[in-house]
Symmetry: C2
Subunit: 295 residues, 2 copies
DNA sequence: CCCTATTATGCTCAATGAGAGTATAAATGA
DNA sequence: TCATTTATACTCTCATTGAGCATAATAGGG
């Protein structure tokens, strides 16, 4: 009865040199998307083949994110049937060398990267702008505090999407409906695209806690320190080194290769390998990471 | 470029008398579905209005589940473009009195209800049938054990979808492609529908652990025991009474009404009220429940 | 009115796990 | 040889959790 168009949108994520990357198009203003002309059993399978054909990336973990509808009447003001359905997916991959189109994920969400900053002047600026927007409304102030970890509230790394939507509503983004005078720094995208990106990061951060998906982003062999740096890159916050090791080793997720990696300085680190690729039940395995639910 | 049809599918869930219910159509063989002819901003909003109009239920928490594509050529064998997209949603509601069309959720998944059974003869039967199917293949046996908690593996209540898919693959369901001689008990549905149902239960079980969505299923005031019974109904497993109380009270999620409920026997129980409905940030609140991740 | 059955509520104890720090090991280069 | 650097091992404390025991408040029967 309802004839509409449909489209797949892909958020492809890799981590290189401790920096999370995402594949973009159009000078970083867009995400890869294509028609769902799949001759395959499932959307997921079609998605995988399409991506692997377009890019040269082998996709590891794939996950459907969200389905949006776009009404045609958005511009004209006449709200109508939806005309376009966008089904978004996240895919994880390894990136051997630098490639075209990959951009730092945190360029789009600078406030989500809390690895080095101490007091974080950016967060203070955002807090100030949000306070202005809240205009003393208690419910709004409460929401800002909960979302951005203000006023003694803990910072929760999984609230990526909530934070993006709050900034959008508050008019602090270039793509907001009524952008204010002060805008949060960071590379912009059309709002629905950056929203998908935020959804992907939120889902990845949530998933990495209890499923061994980090390993999809790692090379064949790796040191525990490299593994930790990758987790930190995704989680956006630093972890306690000794506890990280303890937890990983206790879970029997990795095995030693017997080799070690020599770097410029210090004691050589042992190289490990993920055990789950051998066993066929990756998606069933659990995995715990010492990421504090809140700081 | 690709003109296709689209459809919303709703999984509406309520709990009545400690039994989780789902709204069905067609003698319990189908789920409510309708065209996405929404004049509204988002799919979610359109979904809510459509459901509240069709049924008389006020929806609490709403969540998008998954989007499937159905290729037209499935019957003819000619794999083709997808012709129909199904966007599925889960909605939680309260049910005052018994109403038409609501059926016990565990009628569809008897093996997921582990509240009373001790040794569980059903699980043994399933285990036997799965072993036959596995034919000694180590990977298959391993997957069965992980998924159904066999051979000393822990039972994980969130693997609802994995279990359904395994049973389907193993030909133990009436809707399987090649149904075997022994079929698991339980009410059937066309495979894609029961799959959506399984997705909903899995998501609900996962969500109930860390977001206060149970309260969407509760009446205005309730005793802690009623709350626990509702959680148990969803989780499918019994909980430790004293620890449940401790955890709920420690989280400041509920407040006393000052009243108490008299029942036939025993000490009267205090009535509580959820505090989150007052504060507007329900979706941000956390909540912990003493559901063991594995038993 | 006392006693028992029944349910709600309060409390204790041990085991576990997480956060954080200290100590030791194995490399490099001066 | 020694300082430096990074990896790895161990310890200690505190919070959380699982489990059980104890007490409180009701109803009903002698």
């Amino acid at each position: 009865m309802n004839e509409i168009q449909s489209e797949l949108v892909a958020v492809l994520i890799a981590v290189q040199d401790e920096v999370p990357l995402v594949l973009t198009l159009d000078q970083g203003r867009n995400l890869p998307s294509g028609p769902l002309e799949t001759r395959h059993r499932s959307l997921q399978r079609g998605m995988r083949l399409w991506v692997e054909q377009q890019t040269q990336c082998r996709l590891g973990h794939i996950e459907q994110l969200y389905t949006f509808a776009e009404t045609a009447g958005l511009e004209t003001g006449v709200q109508d049937h939806p005309r376009l359905i966008r089904i978004s997916y996240m895919g994880l991959t390894r990136l051997e060398e630098a490639q075209q189109g990959w951009r730092g994920l945190y360029e789009y969400f600078p406030w989500e990267n809390r690895r080095e900053h101490g007091a974080d002047p950016l967060l203070s600026e955002i807090a100030r702008a949000l306070t202005v927007w809240a205009k003393g409304d208690a419910a709004r102030l409460w929401r800002c505090a909960e979302t951005f970890g203000l006023d003694g509230q803990p910072w929760s790394d999984e609230l990526v999407l909530h934070r993006y939507e709050l900034l959008w509503e508050a008019g602090l983004l270039p793509e907001s409906q009524q952008p204010g005078s002060w805008l949060a720094p960071g590379r912009s995208m059309p709002s629905d695209r950056r929203r998908i990106l935020a959804t992907a990061l939120a889902r990845l951060r949530a998933k990495i806690r209890y499923r061994p998906v980090v390993f999809e982003l790692m090379p064949e062999t790796f040191t525990l320190w490299q593994l930790q740096r990758t987790v930190e890159a995704i989680a956006g916050s630093p972890l306690h080194k000794q506890n990280f090791r303890r937890l990983i080793l206790a879970q029997d997720l990795v095995e030693e290769t017997g080799k070690a990696e020599m770097q410029a300085q210090g004691r050589p680190a042992r190289l490990y390998r993920f055990k789950g690729t051998v066993i066929g039940t990756r998606h069933l395995m659990g995995s715990k990471l010492p990421i504090a639910r809140s700081v």
